[in-house]
């Protein structure tokens, strides 16, 4: 291995390590900061208690600190990590599959489908619940996958999928579904602020249940993404070249689309539509570690988690005691950093 290649590997390792450290610090902050400040010492003690309760079955002391850290902030923190990782992974996969830097996790109608589901649930006051999950996550998840499946089916031509058709069908169907959503919102009588705050994305008030639902989906989607990382690299060269290099182009694309859709739907169903993470994080990761998806995907997942965790901390602080929708923060944090990187470094895309 030559010096430069070695340097590249060092750099990738350094970036991953740095992200882990930043994430660890962000996690501490997320447990400490909030409407009631919990000092680091208290947080560590409570986490220790929680761990002993989990592993050794020791009873948990019933203090307010325990409730705040273990029942409110910890699930919220886990969820922030999961949502960030899901969105960043889905975004990275979509950008590669569509060979389009503007692609994001919502490109196949995930967001419009989820929004329709959520708005129907909220405005029509639908009261269903499965295993404790309320109508909003259930209907937004179903809406997201339903619209994505419809986009996918409508773009089939002779058993093959063409990414350009897929992209345009996603846009067309997305606008139609958004129009329906707007219609329901305007004719409904509910308070629109709740709806709008969901549409901007928030993980406020989420519980362990949401973590249990979203985590397996991240695990499944993440494993598929990592296994398919090398074919994804080859797919960047175009369908025909990928085929000539021995990639099963159509089945690989199907698997990757399904994984990305699942990841995005999982994130949207528990957190609403958090923008920018899935668009910007893969770009930032690419600038930091290069285009190889075997490194890019884990880096994206970590960086996505970092961004959403930090954004969630800020969302609690900025207009305390009220909370900002997290999507506003991710846009404000992500955009300048992205522009900075774009101008500082020569980017992997030729103009």
């Amino acid at each position: 291995m030559s010096n430069n290649l070695r340097k590249q590997r060092y750099r990738q390792t350094a970036v991953l390590l740095a992200l882990v450290i930043v994430l660890a610090v962000g996690c501490d902050l997320a447990l400490i900061i909030g409407p009631s400040h919990q000092p680091l010492a208290v947080v560590s003690r409570v986490l220790g208690d929680g761990l002993r309760h989990l592993l050794l079955g020791e009873p948990l002391p019933q203090t307010s600190a325990h409730t705040i850290v273990l029942d409110i902030r910890l699930p919220r923190l886990f969820l922030a990590c999961i949502v960030g990782a899901c969105l960043a992974l889905a975004g990275a996969i979509m950008q590669a599959l569509f060979q389009n830097p503007m692609a994001d996790p919502y490109i196949l109608g995930i967001s419009s489908g989820a929004a329709l589901g959520a708005v129907v649930a909220m405005m029509l006051g639908i009261q269903v619940a499965i295993a404790g999950l309320t109508a909003v996550p259930l209907l937004s998840f179903s809406g997201a996958l339903l619209i994505t499946a419809l986009v996918y089916i409508l773009s089939q031509r002779g058993g093959h999928i063409h990414t350009a058709t897929l992209l345009l069908t996603g846009i067309a169907l997305g606008s139609l579904v958004s129009a329906i959503t707007s219609f329901i919102m305007l004719t409904g009588e509910e308070d629109l602020q709740v709806v709008i705050s969901w549409l901007l994305g928030s993980i406020s008030g989420r519980r362990w249940l949401h973590v249990y639902v979203a985590a397996p989906q991240l695990l499944a989607g993440g494993v598929v993404a990592l296994v398919m990382a090398r074919p994804l690299n080859v797919l960047l060269l175009g369908d025909e070249t990928a085929m000539n290099l021995g990639v099963n182009v159509h089945s690989s694309k199907r698997i990757l689309l399904a994984a990305a859709s699942l990841l995005a739907a999982a994130a949207v169903s528990v957190s609403g539509i958090i923008g920018f993470v899935g668009l910007i994080i893969p770009h930032i990761a690419r600038l930091l570690v290069g285009p190889d998806h075997r490194v890019l995907l884990p880096t994206s997942a970590l960086a996505g988690a970092v961004l959403v965790v930090l954004a969630d901390v800020l969302a609690r602080v900025v207009i305390a005691p009220a909370e900002l929708p997290i999507g506003i923060i991710t846009a404000i944090l992500g955009c300048p950093f992205f522009l900075y990187l774009l101008h500082r470094q020569s980017y992997g895309h030729t103009p």
């Binding site: 290649l5 296994v227 960047l236 060269l237 175009g238 000539n244 021995g246 290069g290 030729t350």
Partner: protein
């Protein structure tokens, strides 16, 4: 042209009654062709005569509408893509370099068909990549990003990626079309060497009649999806045949150094065009 003829009994590639079409437009009509081991075959013909289409059929990426392509006596359509990529490598006409992979990583993608999904490069793979880089004189480029290469360097890297597949057959679609004369000769000489040293079967689509005449042992002239001529350069590069197929006045002379036919153009002969 007293080269030892490849064994006609053992064709590497064979087109049998091949028809191909895009969206209903017929591109190839009843093409029959047999290519022996170690052949160095040039495919020439006017724009739209079906050269690239024929190559895509040979590569197995385009399904013929009728007839079939046999690769080592097996219908290429029935060979799984991974296995096919270990037998046939393709150097495409255009290479997009929108992602900043290093030259090493790019050439290593040629090993995809030899690797399991999660498998890292083995010693053998690394040797294949290094050897491909050496054969194409690209080893000094290994650390560079493909987005930073010149046209000639990029084309050599793409050929290296094809060689890393360790194929039996190399298909190239106009590999010299956007290169200057120095790099054209460079690539042509490289193909000649690969063919001579490794007995690699090379099928090479080109618009450069003179390059084909100098470097190929056999030339196939396509016209409107038919094989108009097939033979050694002396048989194919003739004034009469080229004038008919290309619908152009041109002169064929003999290269005094190689004894091979060379096409010469003059402005005066084509004054009628104005």
């Amino acid at each position: 042209m007293s080269q030892p003829q490849p064994d006609p009994e053992a064709p590497v590639l064979r087109a049998e009654g091949l028809y191909a079409a895009y969206d209903g437009t017929q591109v190839l009509c009843d093409v029959n062709l047999s290519v022996g081991v170690g052949a160095m075959l040039g495919i020439i013909g006017p724009n739209g005569s079906g050269k690239s289409t024929l190559l895509r059929c040979f590569a197995g990426t385009l399904k013929p509408t009728a007839g079939r392509v046999l690769l080592f006596d097996t219908d290429v359509a029935t060979i799984p893509v991974r296995q096919r990529a270990r037998l046939v490598a393709v150097v495409p006409q255009h290479t997009t370099t929108s992602f900043a992979f290093t030259v090493w990583d790019t050439v290593a993608m040629g090993r995809h068909a030899h690797l399991g999904l999660m498998q890292a490069l083995t010693e053998r793979d690394i040797r294949a990549v290094s050897s491909a880089l050496e054969q194409t004189d690209c080893i000094h480029l290994a650390d560079r990003l493909i987005t930073e290469l010149s046209g000639g360097e990029l084309q050599r890297v793409i050929i290296a990626r094809a060689l890393a597949q360790e194929p039996q057959v190399l298909l190239l679609d106009e590999p010299t079309s956007h290169l200057d004369i120095n790099h054209q000769l460079d690539i042509a000489a490289l193909l000649g060497a690969l063919n001579a040293d490794r007995r690699l079967t090379v099928l090479w689509v080109t618009h450069d009649l003179n390059l084909a005449s100098e470097f190929c042992e056999r030339i196939v002239l396509l016209s409107n999806g038919h094989v108009a001529a097939d033979g050694d350069p002396l048989e194919v590069i003739t004034q009469r045949q080229l004038a008919a197929v290309y619908n152009t006045e041109l002169t064929v002379m003999t290269n005094p150094l190689s004894g091979r036919p060379q096409v010469v153009i003059t402005a005066s002969k084509n004054e009628a065009r104005r």
